[in-house]
Amino acid sequence: MEKFLSVPEVAAGGNEQLVSISDIKLVTQASATQVDILYGQGKTVRLTWPNNRGTAEIPLAGEDLQDAILDALSKGWTNTSVYYKPLTDGYVSGIGIS
């Protein structure tokens, strides 16, 4: 079963980019603006917020993203893509993979 978050990027109401939430092994807030999703195959997707949203030790953005992931995974299999409105800003300024 594949599942995705549909994440608005660059500006509120802007284009949405699909981010996989299948095979997630770890979610980590790497900095005040960056949250990393680590997948089983070793790839990492990084979402970057336009403003500080917590810290690595008080990861407000990371916990918000995790809540969205769990909410999406709890929906039926026909809900393949679930819209995610990032904490406070409503969008992220960047999504990348490494």
Binding site: M1, Q41, G42, I58, L73
Partner: protein, 345 residues
């Protein structure tokens, strides 16, 4: 249909890090001239010295006293007897049972209020709430927050703060956050073999090019090298997570506890509803309400009376003569996780 399962793991936040500037290695101290520990660290917080014995897992301590802004008193934690932190060691301090929400110096006097013009009591990352505790560090008095007026003012239950006094605002909970950890496609979980502190496990996932994660925890209450309490707890949580309905993608990690064994031995006589062993000292080691465990079957019974040094009364008849047992007191040591990552800190 395969569904991803995750564990929701509470992770203790790091409240401080640095490198020691003085030698505390023979006095159970941590010394760092550049710090203000009185406003950043609490008794009960944990210290991880990653430099000393780094090849076998570093050294762990619990903070027993805040001696000054630059010095902490410590007690050793874990299987090894650690002597204190030497000069030049890298260390981390993790939240224990309480945490500091705000700290600083008051900027005016207001009856029954705490005022700091640069405060962020509402908008800060750790907002203050009614019921939090204010400690005046200048004259060692305390009060409770009765209202959070705004970012710069707290109403207090007692008039303890005047202008230019040091304070901290604390809450009796661990500063921690939740981290999702994959519970599907796990190939093997193991204690780190080189870790003499028993403070980490590795989680290997099944994909050929997959990731390996290290989960680190404070070994508070673990006294034996090779103890697998956390590894076993992790495996148990993984099973429970995967047994859940598909609509429940995560399972909550509860901090594993260390069994509090207050006594043990082998019975040498038998009677109904009794545990008997000559030569014991039950009146010193056992209390009513403790649990007696028959090790051969893991059956348990509750102690209802301590009859003498050699005999206990139980609520069930589970012992005959010649059976090994343990007496367990209330759980008191929990094993908080402080890091989950692709590499250890």
């Amino acid at each position: 249909m395969e569904m991803d399962k995750l564990l929701s793991v509470p992770v203790s936040s790091m409240v401080k890090s640095g490198a020691t500037s003085g030698d505390g290695s023979s006095t159970l101290k941590l010394i760092d001239a550049g710090q203000t520990f009185t406003q950043e660290v609490l008794v009960g917080d944990y210290v991880y010295d990653t430099t000393t014995n780094s090849g076998t897992g570093g050294e762990f301590y619990k903070v027993s006293a805040i001696d000054s802004d630059t010095q902490l008193s410590l007690t050793s934690v874990g299987p090894a007897t650690n002597p204190g932190v030497p000069s030049g060691a890298t260390y981390y301090v993790f939240s224990g049972t309480s945490h500091i929400l705000a700290a600083g110096t008051t900027t005016s006097t207001s009856a029954n209020n705490l005022v700091m013009s640069s405060g962020t009591f509402v908008s800060g990352l750790t907002p203050v709430k009614i019921g939090d505790t204010v400690t005046n560090q200048t004259d060692a008095t305390t009060a409770t927050v009765t209202a959070v007026t705004n970012d710069t003012t707290l109403a207090l239950s007692a008039d303890i703060m005047a202008n230019s006094e040091l304070f901290i605002v604390t809450r009796e909970t661990t500063l921690e956050y939740t981290q999702l950890l994959g519970a599907s496609d796990i190939a093997l979980t193991e204690n780190v073999s080189t870790d003499a502190q028993n403070a980490s496990i590795t989680i290997r996932y099944g994909n050929a090019s997959g990731v390996e994660l290290t989960l680190q925890y404070i070994p508070d209450g673990i006294f034996a090298i090779g103890d697998e309490t956390v590894r076993n707890a992790f495996q148990d949580y993984v099973i429970r997570a995967n047994e859940q309905e598909w609509s429940q993608p995560s399972y909550p990690w509860a901090k594993p506890h260390v069994l509090n064994v207050t006594d043990n031995g082998t019975t040498d006589s038998a009677a109904a509803f009794a545990l008997i062993e000559s030569g014991q000292n039950f009146t010193s080691t056992v209390s009513v309400g403790n649990t007696a465990v028959k090790l051969s079957t893991s059956e348990t019974a509750t102690v209802t009376a301590v009859v003498s040094d050699t005999q206990l009364t139980l609520d069930r008849s589970i012992f005959v003569s010649g059976e090994a047992y343990q007496i367990l007191g209330p759980n008191k040591n929990f094993l908080p996780v402080f890091n989950i990552a692709t590499s250890a800190i």
